[in-house]
């Protein structure tokens, strides 16, 4: 077997970094342990360079299991960029809370290795391994605050529901394999499209596979773990779950839905469309009631998952489907990039506020503008962008979804667009409520100025600038996201 080592170089670099981090943690003592963080950061930068070098090439390795094309490279850059931001916002938080530092960074890197595998997988088994490599370290990281019952509870919930979803997905995969006789995604598509009449058992197993990803992206009937897990987990882990792990779930969903199950898109398309409507409506309505900022962000991330599911609802099969599906994938990718920029930023500000004081309810953000103008500005920009205000990237993200709907207008598409607009208005209510608290309410007496530290401030500034620059020049991303095409390839 000829292995293309250039194609898997980013994964190799991250693996070596993870092992080095573990070894360094064993060698270092006391306060020196925190220097595993820059080590992990260096490895991430090296992996980013290796990934950028892969842009524009089309490499296939491990048989046909592993494909590195522009779609995969774009997703890998998204994951690695998120990893870099999360490393920067974790440094002080993890060092101060006396977590198991080496283990934390080792598990974080391991989880991201799984994410890098996800968009390249073209085989059910590879997809499953990637998904589990993302999930298993995350289960442990959520329970990292070992002495805290709340953290243990959230880890247990996450673990049990995660295992259930994995079991359902594996069950579905085994039935798909029984039907198609292959685990290769392209082969499955060929086997399914050869069938003239739709087989209920096959459709059922397709649904089971999609349920597994539905859990990962916290779509609505499977979202119950998200708020509890986010609020119980250490905050950088919550940021990682809300952004990177969710993006990985979407990457897997795109690959499996648009390549393997493309011939039955008429069935899963409307189903995911209904899920999208449910997800954004339920997420937004519950978010209105939240008093804890992390829970608010959790429900907001559920709602955002709903928006990202909308393009899946447009998917179809048959003649002329390729254009619609390509537009849908493009919208998903662009929204995920925008979502990563703004949501990591929001979590970064929340970490800065919570770090020493443990304050995390929305009322505690009163007068943040006086305590730290930079963080207040950052929070405002990120929340407005999550809502989709003009001049921020959030507007273009929603616009990208509408653009995908407009490629071929159907009644269902119009209904989805209607729900998108109504939900955006609902979402603005709770985002603006936080913004009002930050700028207009009096700060409680006795709170000191916030000192987020260099790394965190740098992340907030970079992401804030990114949100605004992409809000003016969305072409910086869409120029790249519009050239990806896995539909034609698959």
């Amino acid at each position: 077997m000829q292995i293309d080592f250039i194609a898997i170089l980013p994964e190799i670099i991250l693996t070596v970094t993870a092992l080095l981090v573990l070894a360094a943690d064993l060698a270092l003592r006391g306060d020196a342990k925190q220097f595993v963080n820059p080590l992990a950061g260096l490895g991430t930068v090296a992996a980013i360079i290796a990934t950028v070098a892969l842009w524009g090439s089309e490499r296939v390795t491990f048989g046909t299991m592993y494909v590195v094309d522009d779609f995969a490279v774009l997703f890998k850059l998204l994951f690695l960029g998120t990893l870099l931001a999360i490393l920067a916002i974790s440094w002080r938080y993890i060092a101060e809370h006396r977590f198991f530092q080496g283990e934390y960074y080792f598990l974080l890197l391991t989880s991201f290795i799984g994410m890098l595998l996800m968009p390249s997988s073209r085989d059910l088994i590879m997809l499953f391994i990637a998904l589990e490599t993302v999930s298993v370290p995350a289960f442990v990281m959520v329970g990292m605050r070992k002495r805290d019952l709340y953290s243990s509870e959230s880890a247990l919930k996450f673990f049990l529901l995660g295992v259930l979803a994995a079991a359902l997905m594996l069950f579905g995969m085994s039935m798909v394999y029984g039907f198609a006789g292959t685990t290769d995604l392209v082969g499955i598509a060929a086997a399914i499209s050869g069938e003239t009449a739709s087989v209920p058992l096959l459709l059922g197993s397709v649904m089971l596979v999609l349920v597994g990803f539905g859990f990962k992206i916290s779509a609505v009937p499977f979202h119950f773990w998200a708020p509890d897990t986010y609020s119980g987990a250490p905050m950088p882990v919550a940021a990682m779950l809300a952004v990177a792990s969710k993006a990985a779930g979407f990457a897997g969903l795109v690959v499996v839905a648009f390549i393997a199950f493309e011939p039955v898109a008429d069935v899963w398309g409307p189903m995911l469309g209904v899920l999208a409507v449910l997800t954004m409506t339920v997420g937004n309505l519950i978010a209105l009631q939240q008093r804890d900022l992390i829970r608010l962000l959790a429900y907001s991330s559920v709602a955002q998952a709903g928006y990202i599911l909308i393009p899946f609802g447009l998917a179809r099969t048959g003649p002329g489907a390729a254009v619609v599906n390509a537009a849908a994938i493009e919208a998903v990718v662009f929204y995920l990039i925008a979502y990563a920029v703004m949501n990591v930023g929001a979590f970064a500000v929340a970490i800065a506020v919570e770090r020493r004081t443990g304050l995390r309810s929305i009322a505690d953000y009163a007068g943040l503008s006086g305590r730290s103008p930079l963080l207040a500005m950052g929070m405002t920009v990120f929340l407005l962008s999550l809502g989709g205000a003009p001049l921020t990237v959030g507007l273009w993200a929603k616009f990208a979804i509408l653009e995908a709907i407009a490629v071929d207008i159907t009644l269902f598409g119009i209904v989805l667009a209607g729900f998108l607009v109504v939900n955006s208005v609902i979402a603005f209510f709770y985002y603006l409520k936080v913004v009002r608290t930050v700028w207009m309410d009096e700060a409680p007496a006795g709170l000191p100025q916030l000192q987020p530290g260099f790394n965190l401030s740098a992340v907030v500034v970079v992401l804030m600038v990114g949100t605004l620059v992409l809000g003016v020049l969305p072409g910086l991303v869409t120029d790249f996201s519009s050239v990806i095409s896995i539909v034609a390839a698959g």
Partner: protein, 127 residues
């Protein structure tokens, strides 16, 4: 075979299974002598009288040792086929022997780091 015939086969299978169970248990009940005694209600433990309660605590350390054992068990599973074929490799085969050797030692090295980690964390000492 149509859909209904397939499900029909399954249905017959289930019905016959239930019937068989019912028949056997009924015959059993009719044929057997019934001599109840309190002795027969005690817990059976290899003919020895049962002591204590059903709940027992197991030292958590066993779990960690079992874990490490499983990891190295998996290593052994990979090592055996590797050891069988590595002798047949030479420059003409698709995989060179050096590649196979390096790959396996990378794998073992990764596991060894795990062992070193467990050792350093004091998992391997019993007290």
């Amino acid at each position: 075979m149509s859909n209904f015939e397939q499900w029909g086969t399954l249905a017959i299978f289930v019905i016959v299974g239930c019937l068989l169970y019912a028949v056997i248990m009924t015959v059993n009940r009719i044929m057997r002598p019934s001599v109840p005694s309190p002795q027969k209600l005690t817990t059976y433990e290899c003919g020895v009288e049962a002591l204590g309660v059903g709940w027992a605590q197991t030292n958590i350390r066993y779990y960690i040792f079992a874990f490490l054992f499983v990891i190295f068990d998996v290593e052994a599973i990979f090592l055996f086929p590797w050891a069988v074929i590595i002798g047949d490799l030479d420059a003409t085969t698709r995989i060179s022997p050096v590649f196979a050797l390096v790959a396996m030692f990378l794998f073992i090295g990764t596991l060894l780091e795990g062992l070193a980690y467990a050792w350093k964390k004091g998992v391997l000492t019993w007290d």
